[in-house]
């Protein structure tokens, strides 16, 4: 066991971990931050997307020890004091989720996208969601939510 120290949603945390402990397991089992979902566990689905030093990564495909000293952001850090942020509100408003399983990854991927590109086009949004799979919505309402979250007109997006 080795001690790993990182900042998670602004709070410094230290825990003993094994070499094989994935970042996803560290967050879910170690810190009880179960909003990071495990869909495939093989880096295909994006449900486990978190931010490491501001970049979206798949927490199921990185070891906790590799995040030593990093700033990690999870879905739990998106809302504050129970208040949803703009992206989360837009997903709710535009019905960007059904079962909600993919949603934490979708929101984290969106947050990373909007940081680099505050007003992405529909094509850019769809390309950016390449690694986030949703079994329910058919994606149209997710795209709509992201357009809305970035303050853009959503009327042109196909109705789901």
């Amino acid at each position: 066991m080795t001690t790993v120290t990182m900042t998670v949603n602004g709070k410094s945390v230290s825990r003993e971990v094994e070499s094989r402990t994935l970042l996803s397991a560290f967050l879910r089992d170690g810190l009880n931050l179960t909003g990071t979902h495990i869909g495939c566990d093989t880096s295909q689905c994006g449900a486990c997307t978190v931010h490491v030093d501001g970049k979206a990564v798949k927490a199921c495909t990185m070891f906790a020890l590799e995040a030593e000293g990093a700033e990690v952001g999870t879905i739990e850090g998106q809302s504050s004091h129970g208040k949803l942020n703009t992206i989360q509100e837009a997903f709710k408003e535009h019905h960007g989720l059904q079962c909600g399983f993919c949603t934490p990854g979708m929101v984290m991927t969106t947050a990373a996208l909007l940081k680099d590109n505050p007003t992405p086009s529909e094509a850019q949004i769809r390309a950016h969601l390449e690694g986030n799979i949703c079994r329910c919505t058919g994606y149209h309402n997710i795209v709509k939510a992201i357009m809305a979250a970035s303050g853009q007109d959503v009327s042109a997006i196909a109705a789901a």
Binding site: S19, R20, T42, S43, K58, T61, E66, E68, L113, G131
Partner: protein, 261 residues
């Protein structure tokens, strides 16, 4: 997952020292971690390369570019946009944004997946693979499906790319894996044209000599009229037959020529 040790050295020298015995380098882990989960590889020790600053970044070197072996795809996509746009375009199409934030050029080249994108860029550009012990020309480096000239314990510390006059990478993505069903990289140099094809052959990335000869005398899509890729030895699977891959090879090569810049 089974138990193993993970080391995070800060220099190439320390990484090489840590790689004795049953140890394996860990790049971005985008291929290796799923492989470990499936127990298709079971090294006793992993030596992580992502904490080695000297293996990251892009610099210009002798009229070309040198890319550190631990540089992630996203950094190549943004860092070569002005200096080598065809390479930037290739890096920007690998997998998805999260894969591009972790996966590294060294890992991709070392793995030599028959459908991977970087081997096509390295071979078409006439790149040199720089390792912890030597330099190997791309023409000698890629030895067949998942096979390279790398020895046990040898680390790819960088890849040196000559920059062509014009180039383009055209990828026909396999939608489930996001890898190339077929990908073609065409590069025009003063000395001639190089064409490298990935995704198509059971032997991994290869240079398409007939297309190179035709394009070296006339760099235009019409130069490929009547030039067909040989389907024998091409991959046939549920995603596409050998004949389909051979057809795509010719189509994508034309597209690459018409879009080269």
């Amino acid at each position: 997952m089974y138990a193993f040790e993970l080391e995070r050295p800060g220099s190439v020298a320390d990484a090489v020292a840590a790689l004795g015995g049953e140890a394996q380098p860990l790049g971005g882990g985008q291929t290796l971690i799923p492989t470990l989960k499936a127990r298709l590889a079971m090294p006793e020790k992993l030596v992580s390369l992502t904490g080695i600053a000297e293996m990251k970044g892009i610099s210009s070197e002798g009229g070309g570019l040198r890319i550190g072996g631990a540089t992630c795809h996203a950094d190549v996509a943004s860092g070569t946009l002005a200096s080598y746009p065809a390479l930037a375009g290739l890096a920007a199409q690998i997998g998805d944004p999260a894969v591009r934030n972790r996966g590294t050029i060294g890992g991709s080249v070392a793995n030599n997946d028959p459908s991977a994108c970087y081997p096509a860029a390295a071979l078409a550009s006439g790149a040199t693979i720089i390792t912890s012990t030597r330099e190997v020309a791309a023409d000698e480096f890629f030895r067949g499906m998942f096979d390279t000239a790398l020895e046990d314990g040898e680390i790819i510390t960088g890849v040196r790319f000559p920059v062509p006059q014009r180039a383009s990478y055209q990828k026909f993505a396999q939608p489930a894996s996001r890898f190339a069903l077929v990908g073609v990289f065409v590069a025009q140099f003063a000395e001639g044209v190089r064409v490298a094809v990935t995704g198509a052959s059971g032997d991994g990335v290869f240079r398409w000599a007939e297309a190179e000869a035709a394009l070296s005398s006339n760099f235009a899509p019409e130069a490929l009229d009547g030039v067909t890729a040989d389907a024998s030895g091409m991959i046939s699977d549920l995603h596409g037959s050998a004949a389909y891959r051979a057809h795509l090879t010719a189509v994508l090569t034309r597209r690459a020529v018409s879009q080269a810049h």
